[in-house]
């Protein structure tokens, strides 16, 4: 029972990260058919913003020393700013280009960000201790769960609820949903394209920053590649969820998290190193059966 409970928390915590990542990618895809592969690099950028630029192994903490109620909004703002800037400086110019061109542009941007970090911080992972007291376990129904896992899950649920409220209850949210479904039609009804897209980028950037913070707290290191794995799985989650479908992306994120955890726990010991191969294999299986994704939305069709 306790092992099972532990498994559930593992699955939810991992799924939370994937879900937040998938949400950030799906939001942008919804409004401009762009799969932003720089998203994972936003995560790393936000984490490195906590450190002074230096190529030494020992990290000199910069923003990381601030109290959490200043630090968290600040890092979220950095994520939003980076994301918004990449829209204004780069993606805006590709607005009418085909999706493949935009995707390549996002790869290029990812490289630029990664190498910018490389230049300032070198490629060696740096240790960073954010809120180390959070790694202490708490007891829930007899199982010992790391406090950080509990917080990750709670934060994710809070973010999902807040975003749902924003999308359902506010005018901007309404415009964003309309634009995600049919961008040209929304514009013909007076919805301001630039504003909706900027807003989507800002939210997406904040999600990347949140993931970066959680990752850095979990691992205690800042690594230039830290966002890459999550970005890949999050992208897969958006495809499985049905591209452009936000709820689907979140659900698929949690599903992959659960699958990953279950494989880790239940695969024979020798096969565990191949866990990711099993996860990706299941993904292929799902897509063979439902190529349009599990929760395909009507807006996934190409726009004219």
């Amino acid at each position: 029972m306790q092992a099972f409970l532990q498994l559930i928390f593992d699955a939810l915590a991992l799924g939370s990260l994937y879900a937040l990542g998938a949400l950030g990618i799906a939001l942008i895809f919804g409004v401009m058919r762009l799969v932003n592969f720089a998203h994972g690099d936003y995560m790393a950028f936000c984490v490195f913003a906590l450190l002074w630029p230096s190529i030494d192994a020992g990290a000199i903490v910069f923003l990381g020393n601030l109290p959490f109620y200043v630090l968290i909004p600040l890092v979220l703002a950095i994520g939003a700013l980076l994301s918004v800037l990449s829209e204004i400086l780069i993606f805006r110019r590709f607005r009418n280009a085909n999706p493949a061109t935009m995707m390549i542009a996002s790869f290029a941007l990812g490289f630029v960000i990664r190498h910018f970090l490389l230049m300032l911080y070198s490629s060696r992972p740096k240790s960073i201790s954010l809120w180390s007291e959070l790694s202490l376990p708490v007891e829930i129904l007899g199982a010992r769960i790391p406090l950080l896992q509990v917080i990750t899950i709670i934060v994710t649920i809070a973010i999902l609820l807040a975003l749902t409220a924003f999308l359902k209850r506010t005018r901007f949210g309404l415009e964003m949903r309309a634009a995600a479904e049919n961008f040209t039609m929304a514009r013909m009804l007076g919805v301001q394209a630039n504003r909706v897209i900027l807003l989507a980028f800002a939210i997406s950037g904040m999600l990347a920053a949140a993931i970066g913070l959680i990752l850095a707290t979990f691992s205690g290191t800042a690594d230039i590649q830290m966002g890459a794995n999550i970005m890949l799985i999050a992208f897969i989650a958006t495809v499985i969820g049905g591209l452009g479908n936000l709820t689907g992306a979140v659900a698929a994120g949690f599903m992959i998290g659960a699958l990953s955890t279950v494989f880790q726990a239940w695969l024979p010991h020798d096969a565990r190193v191949f866990r990711d191969a099993f996860v990706y294999g299941s993904v292929i299986l799902v897509l063979l059966i439902r190529p349009q994704g599990l929760f395909a939305s009507k807006s996934a069709k190409q726009r004219v």
Partner: protein, 240 residues
């Protein structure tokens, strides 16, 4: 003073020109039908006016302002409301949300709230289903919804691309009845694209005939419909 003036516009998709030197004007309160065979450039004409596909030559003036490179959201704010081909409801949004998107750019919130009620009065079946996803509606109901949504923007000019496409004749009658009533009530200017001239003949008003991206005939719909040259112009050859 005309509300809309299209002055010699040419629109190209790549090397293919969809419109060549098309001109037309519309006075406030007028009803104008644009007819023509498939591929004549009718939908392109509406998209050009809406600012979705900018013309490479010529200019479009609407409500006293030249469209230039203005995007659809800017032109919509000047009072141009478009009901494009294929209806384009926001399928995952509820009916009421669809209508609220239509009113999103308005600043007169109280007035917009009254308009919402009057749209519901006009289309009682929308009121009954206001919290239902728009994608669940039938074709005819979706057509009503997009007309209602276009009305929520309180437009000066409403352009409708093939309102009768894929609808049963009885529903088409209903759609036109509503359009004409709205035109009376709100002094709407209507620009309607239809493939055939039958509706233009029934409704009356001015009509232009597009073929191969050019205006080939223009005049009173009822007079033109009786004219033998109309049929020849439509198909581009004489009677067999």
């Amino acid at each position: 003073m005309s509300l809309l003036a299209v002055d010699g516009i040419t629109v190209r998709y790549g090397r293919l020109s969809a419109l060549r030197g098309v001109s037309l004007t519309m006075a406030p309160g007028e009803i104008l039908f644009v007819t023509g065979p498939n591929g004549a450039g009718k939908s392109t004409l509406l998209k050009a006016i809406a600012g979705v596909v900018p013309p490479v030559e010529g200019k479009i003036t609407f409500a006293g302002k030249t469209n230039g490179a203005d995007g659809p959201e800017v032109i919509a704010r000047r009072g141009f409301s478009m009901v494009p081909e294929g209806r384009n409801v926001f399928a995952s949004l509820s009916i009421e949300e669809n209508l609220r998107v239509g009113a999103g750019m308005r600043t007169d919130k109280a007035e917009a709230a009254r308009d919402l009620e009057s749209v519901y009065e006009e289309f009682p079946m929308l009121a009954e289903r206001r919290h239902m996803a728009a994608g669940m509606l039938s074709g005819g109901q979706q057509q009503m919804l997009v007309i209602g949504r276009a009305l929520m923007a309180a437009p000066e000019l409403m352009a409708i691309d093939e309102p009768s496409l894929g609808l049963a004749p009885k529903i088409i009658d209903q759609v036109y009845e509503i359009l004409l009533r709205l035109r009376e009530k709100r002094s709407l200017t209507l620009l309607i694209v239809e493939q055939s001239s039958t509706r233009a003949e029934m409704t009356g008003g001015r009509m232009i005939l597009l073929r191969g991206g050019e205006v080939v005939l223009e005049g009173d719909a009822r007079v033109l419909a009786k004219d033998e040259s109309m049929r020849q112009a439509y198909f581009g050859f004489g009677d067999h």
